[in-house]
Symmetry: C2
Subunit: 399 residues, 2 copies
């Protein structure tokens, strides 16, 4: 039997995914742990309403970084809008996991995803934690990634290997998320592990930079979850400390960004009802912030997304979406390419052969380039097309 | 044969709608004119990319108000992204209409709606203007409203009668718009007429206030057109001048708001693919601006709109949408009602019988109340549910 490994590839980590009966089928609880204490950084949703597990993570790592032992994650119930009892449940998940690992509750991060407003079935959860900790190892990574999935249709993981200061290092990650993924960190959970030797503060800086252009660049439907959590843990087993402000840090940051971007693109491609990945590159903006605003406006536009779904080279909707954004736009300097073909240049439509452009739009990956012609600001956003299937998934999903 | 009158009910106005062959079927050009010069106010899109007719209206009325003779409108082609030639075409529409009415081009407003990036078929347009001016009268209001429609499935008009300072006055309006209607004034065109005796500046002030809580409170899909134009014209034939800062002005403003709100609600109800109107009332916000931001976040949320479409009392999505907005939110003070039934109170789910709530969500008009518990700010936004039909309309519509 072949075993696909990702999250436990970096030395120093063990994991397990088990079924404890929260979801109607499949694995629904996972534990990812360091063999001993590890560096950690965490990013959580910017929604003002947040789940109890997010509050717990912020209590464990108030600055977003520190030393932890591991993480427990469940799917099927998000423990959001559950009041004081919900907070006690999140803490109990940490306490139980810590007890079995021989760690402190304050060393255990928690994430939950699934339906809002329901109490966690704590009996099942406790059994699940015992099963998971009892089966921690290197052989069940596929069960771990399945245990964090909700409406995802494919497993999402990434492995990046590089050499830093002569030492080979590995970064691995798993992710879930297919809907409600927008402006910044939506119903997505991602856990990354690495054997890199990096202090918590430096790890956090690299992770924030990576998340900005990856997880925070994904939008499925402009909605934003109350539960998003991304965690990276570093065991330090690779040796060769990565110090702040060095070339090593830059190289590590680039590798971490690569892993996060691969998972972000996988999430966009697996957006609810999606039939294709859409990459929106904005360049020439007055600032990077403007580029982000413009790229998100295009990526969030239902009219652009339905045009892509219909494989219609409707550049007018792209121009409309850029124009409605808060980014500085000078219509006479605006250019648009679809699949590399210029369809609109410096404020005027450009004659193009519609067949190859429609062919590109009907493909697996659609690339839209928007040039604002104003400066050097740039940003790339990732999204998907908008299909009838999105409506089916979200209108027929009942609470 | 009965004749439905609206736009020409106020004394002093004539109108005509004709077919000149821009659209594949039906009327596609209209002229609405004062019998002589009238007070006018105009509101146009806040998109940074605007059509040539919008630029023309801003040239005719740089402050948004003044004296005009009338307006010419076509559907089927929006004259957007058409460069210098497009501006000349918009001006030519005004010039031709003015010539036939015996007025100046600078007294004629222009609006166009339809596909972006195509030149206007000026031969057809000229013929249409000649036909329309030749048949101006009081008997063809239905043709006028049909001539401004694009993907609308129903004709939208409103008539409000009131007495101001003892004088009966009439306000009438027609509107089109079913998609790309969002944050502020999207592919919507509305023309209102009144016999009230009101100076341009006062008319503009009343119209801006009315538009803020009506047209600017509608969102279909968060996209925003490059062509939105709303115009009100006042003939003064009712006598009894409405002076600034008086009780008469307040009464007129309220009546104008009533007419605009009726049309805004009709637009939301006729949103592309819509099966029901959704009214989102936010109260208790720190400020009115916060209330608007929160109401729009709920009204724009694809997850809320699909839940409404599925008649699912998924209050978690409403809470999520409020939380992701830029409005100040304190989760512990947040309450939500659906159809008058409290489903979430002061930060916690409330037990409710789901059958009547689901029944309300399956009805014609859905009312969502969000209480922020922070202050006295309030705003009501109008939208519709999000259905497979929206995707069909917008994915299958080809440029």
């Amino acid at each position: 039997m072949s075993t696909i490994r990702h999250i436990t590839l970096p030395a120093g980590f063990v994991a397990a995914g088990v079924r404890c009966g929260i979801k109607t089928s499949g694995e629904d609880l996972a534990v990812v742990a360091g063999e001993r204490e590890v560096s950690a950084a965490v990013m959580t949703t910017s929604n003002q309403v947040v789940g109890a597990p997010v509050l717990w993570c912020r209590r464990v790592l108030p600055q977003g970084f520190g030393r932890v032992r591991g993480m427990v994650i469940n799917s099927g119930c998000s423990n959001v809008c559950t009041g004081k009892a919900g907070l006690e449940d999140a803490e109990a998940m940490a306490t139980e996991t810590a007890r079995l690992l021989g760690a402190e509750p304050s060393e255990i991060l928690v994430a939950s995803t699934g339906i809002i407003g329901q109490p966690l079935p704590m009996g099942k959860i406790r059994k699940g934690i015992a099963m998971a900790v009892g089966s921690l190892g290197w052989r069940n990574d596929p069960a771990v990634v399945r245990a964090i999935m909700t409406t995802d249709t494919v497993e999402k993981s990434a492995v990046v290997r590089t050499r830093i200061a002569g030492q080979p290092i590995t970064i691995a990650g798993i992710a879930k998320g297919a809907g409600m993924i927008a402006p910044s960190m939506a119903t997505m959970i991602s856990v990354l592990t690495t054997d890199a030797n990096v202090a918590p503060r430096t790890l956090h800086r690299a992770f924030a930079a990576a998340a900005e252009v990856s997880f925070n660049a994904v939008t499925i439907d402009s909605d934003q979850s109350t539960s998003d959590t991304a965690v990276v843990m570093a065991s330090g087993r690779a040796g060769g400390r990565i110090a702040r402000g060095t070339a090593e840090e830059r190289k590590f940051s680039a590798a971490l960004t690569e892993a996060c971007t691969a998972m972000a693109m996988a999430m966009a491609r697996d957006g609810e009802g999606a039939t294709r990945l859409v990459q929106v590159n904005v360049t020439g903006a007055a600032t990077d912030a403007d580029a982000k605003v413009a790229a998100k406006a295009v990526a969030d536009s239902p009219l652009v997304k339905t045009a892509v779904h219909g494989a219609d080279p409707n550049w007018g909707r792209i121009v409309m979406a850029v124009g409605k954004s808060a980014a500085k736009v000078v219509p006479e300097k605006l250019s648009v390419k679809i699949g590399g073909v210029t369809v609109f240049a410096r404020g005027a439509p450009k004659k193009f052969s519609s067949r190859p452009v429609a062919g590109h739009l009907a493909g697996d990956t659609v690339v839209i380039d928007v040039g604002l012609g104003l400066g050097r600001g740039k940003f790339t956003a990732y999204t998907c097309d908008l299909s009838r299937e999105y409506i089916t998934i979200n209108a027929d999903y009942h609470t």
